[in-house]
């Protein structure tokens, strides 16, 4: 059961077209909604009027004045309004909402809502945000500032002066915005309902990762909780549907309340690209003291500057993960890691698979390549000498054990030595099919990734899961959403394995906040490892409850046969750690994560020397997953994450115009990889069990996005000598780097 590649539970519905996504539902008499958005990055709103020449008779219009509760998108801080009142702080910020009987009428109405703006000076450069005007957040425009110190970095840098055995090596690295690009745009439907007590209320049905985020946000806006939130089958999230759907739900709900009708709000692709959150861009300055002979890291001093955009969203948590992961999977006894997350007048950045780790580990890996280059060493040797070993301390002072770093490295190297199976490999030819001048290269990078929430996060959250015996079958109740990763398949595998029954007897209840407890959000590589662990505890509790009911503990079906009642037996469990994790959020000292995943990625590519285009041939990854509950689903996560990272590496560039608005707001010019762009992938699952996870499982959702882009940069350098320290490595940047090389 555990370790079997069972077919996904929702597979039949998905391959026959029967799976119901939000846009597939059309409630009776439903209105279609659209959003009036700011054309300015920063402006005062001086008036909102309806065009007297437009027929608004069948159009519902909502502004901030219609909000019954608080005008806020409740998340970490209350800085983001549900609808801009008085001031807009980024282009595309929602100012008003319309709903009409047809999409066409709603879209037409948008341009007849006349908003008067008085433009204000706008801030786009994160380097000039902290303590500068205009004031966008708090007293100094800083969302988060974290400094982590381990050992004595100042002493190590001071003693490096004049010591011929060591050298100070510094580098600056930059990464750009990246769009999650779930193929299904954001969408939500609000319908009216009468609850069990006869009170009127709403149901929000839509595309989302975190139903209880929506509950928290919407209850503040409505001033009550007379609603439920139901996840539709969701067409991809990658973090982009972590916090953003709260805003979409608020908007649909406000229109439904005012119109008295059902309301459907689906973003157009261009609107989704321009308005929604992206991966945070970052500038990273790394200074290190290294041993000249080996490249061993003796001290690290890293400064990261993240652009959070116009509202805080989850940016402090991204900053936090960035600080902790900044050195990569390498031992260093003297570390200063400092990260600053600042406000600008661009659309807010937010959650995206990896959450700060892909940015900082690009810099970490490129910096090791720089060390190798400057010292004349082999980049692989520099990694070997620095890789974590059992008993090493991380920069937060956490003692590492059962480290997979060396194991994944050797496994990836071994696999990459084998030839590709015949018929595989070689995708798109370069040079448009002409005889191209190609340079081939191989790159390697290593990652670590803290699984689950940082520090006390899980203990504070106490994520819950219910398991119910309904007849002779079992049903799992959690708010963990399946957004493609396979939650609906692995939770039944866990329960079935724990109880010794067939997996077909275990189903998963739909994530409906009326039915399920709050298991915490579907984020941070925590669903299988953390919530799956709670589900396993629930299975054990249910067995115990059943044993006590029938008077013996034995074969599950024999216990069922002995039952005299057919009442539903439902148990609830919640997360509790074993009390051994110690974390101080003030000093950033202690056990940052319950465990870490480890991964090594090897990329084979060719660089077209005439166009600068990068052609991927092969990608090998070896990743420590703890235990592969379902190896087909697990390798699917790793392959998909790796290709997203290759897009981040060479094709996905968000181009902002002078207002901070995404200019390339279409799939024709924001280029994600196709099947022809993708390399052949080989995925090696390494299993170093984590005692705190169900059957040893670790989180794996994010680690595949952490470093493939760094392996690409190394491969380009090895193929051509061109050094690129900035993402994305678009063909023109590759060409420029080839020029610099000469």
């Amino acid at each position: 059961m555990i370790g079997e590649g069972l077919v996904r539970a929702d597979g039949q519905a998905k391959v026959t077209g029967r799976a119901v996504y939000v846009d597939d539902v059309r409630p009776e008499g439903c209105l279609y909604a659209a959003t009036v958005r700011s054309p300015f990055a920063h402006a005062r709103i001086t008036g909102i009027r309806l065009d007297p020449d437009f027929d608004f008779s069948d159009v519902t219009v909502v502004t901030a004045a219609d909000i019954p509760g608080e005008n806020v998108v409740a998340l970490m801080t209350d800085d983001q309004p549900a609808l801009a009142d008085k001031v807009v702080r980024h282009v595309m910020e929602p100012v008003a909402l319309v709903a009409a009987p047809t999409r066409e009428k709603a879209l037409a109405a948008v341009s007849h809502i006349l908003v008067d703006y008085e433009p204000l000076p706008a801030l786009f450069d994160p380097e000039r945000s902290r303590g500068h005007e205009p004031s966008l957040f708090g007293s100094d425009n800083v969302y988060s500032h974290i400094t982590l110190v381990h050992g004595d970095p100042d002493g190590a840098f001071a003693s490096a002066e004049g010591n011929a055995d060591v050298r100070i090596i510094e580098g600056t690295y930059r990464v750009g915005l990246q769009e999650q690009l779930y193929i299904e745009p954001q969408g939500m439907i609000a319908t009216h309902r009468v609850d069990a007590e006869g009170a009127p209320g709403l149901t929000l049905f839509g595309s989302m990762q975190c139903p209880f985020y929506v509950v928290k946000a919407l209850s503040r806006v409505l001033g009550h909780k007379r609603f439920n939130v139901v996840q539709a089958v969701t067409g991809g999230g990658f973090g982009g549907k972590e916090e953003y759907p709260s805003l979409v739900a608020i908007h649909a709900a406000l229109l439904a309340l005012k119109s008295g009708k059902s309301v459907k709000l689906i973003y157009r692709r261009d609107e989704d690209l321009r308005a929604t959150t992206k991966r945070h861009p970052c500038r990273l300055r790394y200074r290190t003291v290294v041993e000249v002979r080996t490249g061993r890291l003796l001290a690290f001093d890293g400064h990261m500057l993240f652009d959070g955009g116009a509202y805080n969203t989850l940016s402090p948590v991204v900053n936090s993960r960035g600080v902790i992961h900044a050195v990569g999977p390498y031992r260093c006894e003297n570390v200063r890691s400092e990260a600053l997350m600042v406000a600008t007048n661009t659309p807010p950045n937010g959650a995206f698979r990896g959450f700060g780790a892909p940015q900082v580990q690009f810099a970490a890996e490129r910096h090791l390549d720089r060390i190798a280059r400057e010292l004349g060493l082999d980049p692989l040797d520099v990694r070997r000498v620095n890789l974590y070993r059992d008993g090493d301390l991380t920069p937060t002072g956490q003692t590492l054990k059962d480290i997979g770093a060396k194991i994944v490295l050797e496994a990836a190297l071994e696999r990459a030595q084998r030839p590709l199976p015949p018929g595989n490999g070689s995708g798109r030819p370069g040079g448009g099919g002409q005889a191209a001048r190609l340079a081939a290269g191989r790159g390697l990078a290593l990652a670590w990734h803290g699984c689950g929430f940082t520090g006390n996060g899980e203990a504070n959250l106490q994520g819950k899961a219910d398991l119910a015996l309904e007849g002779r079958d079992l049903r799992v109740y959690t708010s963990s959403t399946d957004i493609g990763q396979g939650t609906e398949t692995i939770f039944p595998q866990i329960v079935a394995a724990a109880l010794g029954i067939g997996v077909g007897r275990v189903s998963v209840a739909p994530p409906d906040t009326d039915l399920v407890p709050d298991s915490g959000p579907t984020v941070a590589s925590r669903t299988a490892m953390v919530v799956g662990g709670v589900v396993l505890k629930a299975a054990q509790a249910l067995r115990a409850a059943l044993a006590s009911e029938v008077g013996f503990d034995g074969d599950f079906d024999a216990m069922l046969d002995a039952r005299t009642s057919d009442a539903v037996l439902r148990v609830r469990e919640q997360y509790a750690d074993d009390g051994t994790l110690v974390w101080d959020p003030k000093t950033y000292r202690g056990d940052a994560y319950p465990t870490f995943g480890w991964s090594c990625v090897i990329v084979d590519l060719e660089v077209d020397l005439d166009t600068g285009e990068v052609l991927y041939r092969r990608l090998v990854q070896a990743t420590d997953v703890g235990r592969a509950l379902n190896p087909v689903l697990a390798s699917g996560q790793l392959e998909g994450g790796a290709l997203q990272a290759l897009g981040y590496a060479t094709s996905e560039e968000v181009v902002l115009d002078e207002r901070g608005c995404m200019r390339n707001d279409r799939l024709t010019n924001y280029i994600i990889p196709t099947a022809l762009d993708a390399p052949e992938m080989e995925t090696v699952l390494i299993e170093i069990p984590f005692a705190g996870g169900p059957f040893g499982a670790k989180g794996i959702g994010e680690i595949p996005h952490d470093v493939p882009h760094a392996a690409v940069a190394q491969a380009i350098e090895r193929a051509t000598g061109a050094v690129l320290d900035r993402l994305p490595m678009m063909p023109e940047r590759v060409m420029a780097a080839l020029e610099r090389r000469r």
Binding site: R8, A13, V15, G17, I183, G636, L667, M681
Partner: protein
């Protein structure tokens, strides 16, 4: 205009605006919601259907163009009744290989793959990649999709 065409081997007659998008007619008028809209401009392929056996992006087709044509959607790939259907080999291969994750792109991939397999039952991996290059997937990295399509008919002992 009154338009007659065939959808999934069933004759339909509809009163439609000639320039309505085929995708909207399928989803809204015929309630065949298996074809998805990911971009509305022919880039993502989630709305792929077959018109007289050729894969097209239904978001780019004005419906008058299908007058008299045979349109096939993902709903027409399997035979038999819902719940007891016999899957098309490429649907079965998608399940077996784990080629569907979030599933939003899956209908378009299946239809595009069905067209390929109709002409080329045992495609090379490169042929599969070329045939599916008009369909975007953000979940899988395409590896399992290519595995599924390349092997869909191979299992019957080609």
């Amino acid at each position: 205009m009154i338009l007659r065409f065939q959808v999934n081997a069933t004759d339909v007659e509809l009163d439609v605006l000639p320039m309505a998008r085929l995708l909207d007619v399928l989803r809204e008028d015929l309630r065949l919601t298996g074809s998805k809209e990911g971009c509305g401009e022919g880039e993502c392929g989630a709305c792929t259907v077959l018109i007289d056996g050729r894969a097209v992006n239904s978001c780019l087709v004005p419906v008058f163009q299908v007058a008299g044509a045979k349109v096939e959607t993902v709903e027409g790939l399997a035979s038999g009744l819902h719940g007891h259907e016999r899957l098309h080999p490429v649907q079965a291969a998608f399940l077996e290989h784990g080629a569907a994750q979030c599933g939003i792109c899956t209908p378009g991939f299946l239809v595009a793959a069905a067209e390929l397999l109709a002409h080329t039952p045992h495609p090379t991996r490169l042929e599969v990649r070329e045939a599916l290059a008009g369909n975007l997937c953000r979940c899988t990295g395409y590896q399992k999709i290519v595995d599924a399509v390349a092997n869909a008919l191979g299992r019957q002992g080609s």
